[in-house]
């Protein structure tokens, strides 16, 4: 077993807060989407859900700014750089490893090293989640919080509806991302090892 220090303290703190806020946002978000007229409240009551969704959203936005700033001023961003060469074939070979190779005891195609925190599939999904879905989620959320700044009409459809649709879809996609993400995090050298890494900062590797 060898250890590589890959998750600096600020990432771990950011990530812990991010996860907690996400869980609050999902629970309150679902409560607002699926309120019921006959008072058998879905998860949390509407008024409370609105309040906590707003609070968690503001914190998440600040936290997101921390994430982006952190990635700009530290070298962490290099891990997210997607290599254009062999982009698809790398994705496929990682995918084949998860769906076939790992059961046959094949070697990890992209073992974690000091310079490669993420495999191509992780890179791609993390990039999409953090730099595409999150900005859209946050911007559309701000649009809903301040409806007066939202474009009124877009091709004859109320801007609020489109904003709301965008928000709900991004929220849903990121929730699905989180589910897949948590599951793939059990695919480390042992099911618990990656979670321990995210607490201690050290990646555990048994492939050397």
């Amino acid at each position: 077993m060898s250890y590589i220090y890959l998750y600096p303290k600020w990432i771990r703190l950011w990530h812990l807060l991010n996860g907690l806020l996400f869980i609050i946002l999902i629970i309150t978000g679902l409560s607002m989407q699926y309120t019921n007229k006959e008072d058998n409240i879905f998860l949390v009551g509407f008024a409370r859900a609105v309040k906590w969704h707003n609070i968690a959203a503001i914190l998440l936005t600040i936290n997101y700014i921390v994430f982006v700033t952190g990635n700009v001023i530290t070298k962490n961003f290099r891990f997210y750089k997607i290599e254009r060469k062999n982009f698809l074939s790398d994705l496929i070979s990682q995918f084949l490893y998860y769906s076939r190779g790992m059961f046959r005891g094949e070697k990890h195609p992209f073992p974690v090293t000091e310079n490669r925190k993420f495999n191509p599939l992780q890179k791609f999904t993390y990039f999409m989640a953090m730099y595409v879905a999150m900005p859209l989620l946050i911007i559309s959320g701000i649009g809903l919080m301040f409806p007066e700044i939202t474009v009124n009409r877009f091709f004859d459809v109320s801007g609020l509806i489109l904003t709301d649709l965008l928000h709900v879809i991004m929220g849903f996609l990121l929730s699905v991302f989180m589910l897949i993400h948590i599951y793939t995090c059990t695919l480390g050298s042992t099911p618990g090892s990656l979670f321990r890494s995210m607490l201690s900062g050290y990646h555990e590797s048994d492939e050397h």
């Binding site: 999409m128 409806p147 649709l165 996609l173």
Partner: protein, 328 residues
């Protein structure tokens, strides 16, 4: 997985808006709404009154002084011409409702005691107006909290200004305007003490403080009508008229922020039906009236559920393979 999801998303976003057609007439420039186009047969007759009641000054010949005197017409006595000729009763002559003795000036004193017609006097049991259900409205009104103030002067006219009232929600193509119009009817008393005090002994009104519990109050008052919360919905009429005592006012957010909400049976009653006729995209995918919780989309719900189940399924299968492989 994520790729397909993203592709779906792109499809939704780039295809939808371009597929949406139809346009709303622009309110400001709609010629049909231009009041100058309505030619009243009584235009000349009415000018006899409008020359004084049409603006905030008038002049008359003072016989004692033997000259023209200019005076102020109090705002409550001013009737805006434009609005009168846009109103439901635009085809009327002033003296259809008012005594023809009003042509005299100063108006004879006994006209003050003039008995005015009520809506039901003209509209009751009339085939032509059957779709409005005046009789039902009259009944509802008599059960409303305001009816007890009839004795001190409350009547249908207090909400339906005799000179400017114009049906709105029934022909509405712009909900926000209708909401503003309808709410101003109530606010004319409930936010204007000079009118309110004529009917009540209450020393103050504070509509804003009374609705403090409602978040985004301003935005709510622009998006829902007072009557949504303060009346009992009646399916046989379009606009509920039974204003309930305040204890029965709607306070639960879920009444509106849920599917099949109150708004569907009141505010959007007409709209949503017509939208559905307006095509698949506008009516079904994008319910034009946005309210969080209420505009849930069946199709997105289904797709969402399927994606979620597929992901969960793949995870379960993956886990079972891992367990089987471990045993071996």
């Amino acid at each position: 997985m994520t790729l397909t999801v993203y592709r779906f998303c792109l499809v939704v976003f780039f295809l939808l808006p371009s597929g949406i057609s139809g346009s709303e007439p622009d309110h400001e420039t709609d010629p049909a709404k231009d009041s100058s186009l309505y030619q009243s047969p009584f235009f000349e007759d009415n000018e006899r009154c409008f020359k004084c009641h049409g603006q905030n000054t008038y002049s008359y010949t003072n016989e004692n002084l033997g000259r023209e005197v200019k005076a102020i017409m109090f705002s409550e006595r001013v009737i805006p011409r434009g609005k009168f000729y846009e109103s439901n009763h635009k085809s009327f002559s002033c003296t259809d409702c008012h005594s023809s003795d009003y042509t005299k000036f100063p108006h004879p004193g006994e006209l003050r005691m003039e008995q005015m017609y009520n809506c039901i006097d003209c509209h009751g049991n009339d085939e032509k107006f059957a779709k409005f259900h005046f009789e039902e409205i009259e009944k509802e009104y008599q059960e409303s909290v305001h009816y007890q103030y009839e004795e001190v002067g409350f009547s249908c006219w207090k909400c339906h200004d005799p000179h400017t009232y114009k049906i709105s929600i029934r022909n509405s193509s712009n909900l926000k305007e209708t909401i503003l119009y309808d709410n101003n009817i109530c606010l004319n008393c409930h936010a204007d003490y000079s009118h309110f005090q004529l009917l009540s002994d209450k020393k103050e009104i504070n509509i804003v403080a009374k609705h403090d519990w409602l978040p985004n109050q301003e935005s709510h008052f622009k998006s829902v009508r007072c009557i949504e919360c303060h009346t009992k919905v009646n399916d046989s009429i379009l606009v509920a008229h039974r204003v309930k005592p305040v204890e029965y006012a709607v306070k639960g957010c879920n009444e509106c922020h849920s599917q099949n909400s109150l708004l569907m049976s009141s505010l959007y009653k007409f709209q949503s039906r017509e939208q559905r006729a307006d095509g698949f995209l506008n009516g079904v995918i994008l319910n034009q009236s946005y309210v969080i919780g209420a505009n849930r989309n069946e199709y997105l719900n289904l797709i969402g559920l399927l994606i979620f189940l597929a992901v969960a399924g793949v995870i379960v299968i993956h886990i079972s393979f891992r367990i089987i492989k471990k045993r071996k």
